[in-house]
Amino acid sequence: MTALLEVRQLEVVYNRVATAIQGVSLEVPEGSIVALVGTNGAGKTTTMRAISGFLPSEDAEITDGEITLRGERINGRMPHQLAKAGVILVPERDKVFSTLSVQENLAFAGREGGAITIERIHGYFPLLRERGTQLAGYLSGGEKQMLAIGMALLCRPTLLLIDEMSMGLAPIVIKDLMEKLQQISRELNLTVLLVEQNAKAALSIADHGYVMESGRVVFTGKAAELMTHPDVREFYLGGAGQAENKSYRDIKQYRRKRRWWG
């Protein structure tokens, strides 16, 4: 009994025919940041949705395996039940209510009596105080992400799931947000599962990393180790072998094949 969240041999099937992920296992220890990286279509988001109970709305179902939170089986629960249990997701798109104001967004989630108050959120993200009365739909990408994280924190999460935090943001904003997230996680002893395409950014703040490919976990290990793993570097971090950042102009003109199987 160590990990807060455990996923064992998870299999998800879409529309009763297409297997999206197969035999995925992960562990998220209490108080740590775990990164789940991989490209689009690798099954990261499906894994995330399975954990947060979103699958039925996508006509998908968990056909095998189990998900446990503090040893208690949680697969098949409704999203709002999971939210009450502390599993809070920041989705990739539509992460804020764009027709409500920033304040209303925060109030939507906020419950009385939690350790995290709106004051504290404003402390982390002062911009949200400034934009309080503005409609959330008019915020920039980075500000929306801040609001979404703020909203999620107000739901008193025990496990925070963040889907594609860096998507479409400027490198400078990504760096800033990643550092903020690390700070928040430390200060609140918050457990975070980060799903990212931007492997470099995610692994830089994570303790552990999982790499997914075609619906399976293909690499796992300490984040620092993954960062130096030659295959991970070549295919996800953009640097083959020793040469850091090989230029796109030097690519070979035949189709390259992946080295591992499955």
Binding site: S52, F54, S57, E58, M78, P79, H80, A83, K84, I88, L89, P91, D94, K95, V96, F97, S98, T99, L100, E104, A107, F108, A109, M151, C155
Partner: protein, 290 residues
Amino acid sequence: MEFVATVVILTCTYALLAAGIVILYKAGRVVNFAHGEIAIVGGYVFYSSGMMFSGGEMSPWLAVLGAIVFSVIMGAFIYATMMRRVVGEPFYVAILVTVGIAIVLKSAIIVIWRAQHLTIDVGIAPAIRLAGGATLSYMDVASVALTIAFFIALYLFFTFTRLGVQFRGTAENPLLASQRGVNVNLVLSLAWIIAVLAATLSGVLYGGRAFLSTESVTIGLAGLTAALVGGLDSLRGAVIGAFVVALAQYLTVRLIDPVLSEALPFLILLVVMSIRPWGLFGTVEELDRV
């Protein structure tokens, strides 16, 4: 005075229908084409449950009870068995499902009530005599009062209560709302129940003033027009739209040709849509949503 009474009652009838359509639209981006049918069936249920045990004499309390039970069951049933499953499908699926519901309800009127023309008479004698020989029954007065109360309650609910804000959030993004701890199924069932309740009230109003039959389901289309004229996402617009439609319909029947009155709401609609397609109080963005 007859004129005022008729238009007021007609406005209430349409406003209730339009309000239901607006609520359903706001909650789930569904445009309900079955609202007229629901209203008329509600009226029939009101009548039948009032008549059930009292042998020819209407018992208002039983009738009200029957109507409420009907609304709760009907609203929850439609949502749970049908509308819950069309989330995420192309927009036309939800609309056509409601068209299907409309047909089934119509057939229910034929099979269960033999499509008979009924006028709801609660048995409270008309009391208020207005100048010009028109009468206003207590039932009419009660209905108008109920309609006003209904709208005030809705307004308070959406602006001031936490559930109301959650409702608005759910309307925009159900997935996110459910992730923030809102039971979306409960909220949307509630929306359907409120909408069916409003429709039933409107059916009773209409049944008391005119009569219930398979033809009177066209009030649903008038209600839909009212909602569109006012703006599909505006409750305030629903009332104004209802007034516009009711007034125009009354005037056409009186002054031009009763046959035209059926086509009339749509002619108004065509005019409004060509000038201001999102309705008098609606928001422009809604045009692209559905």
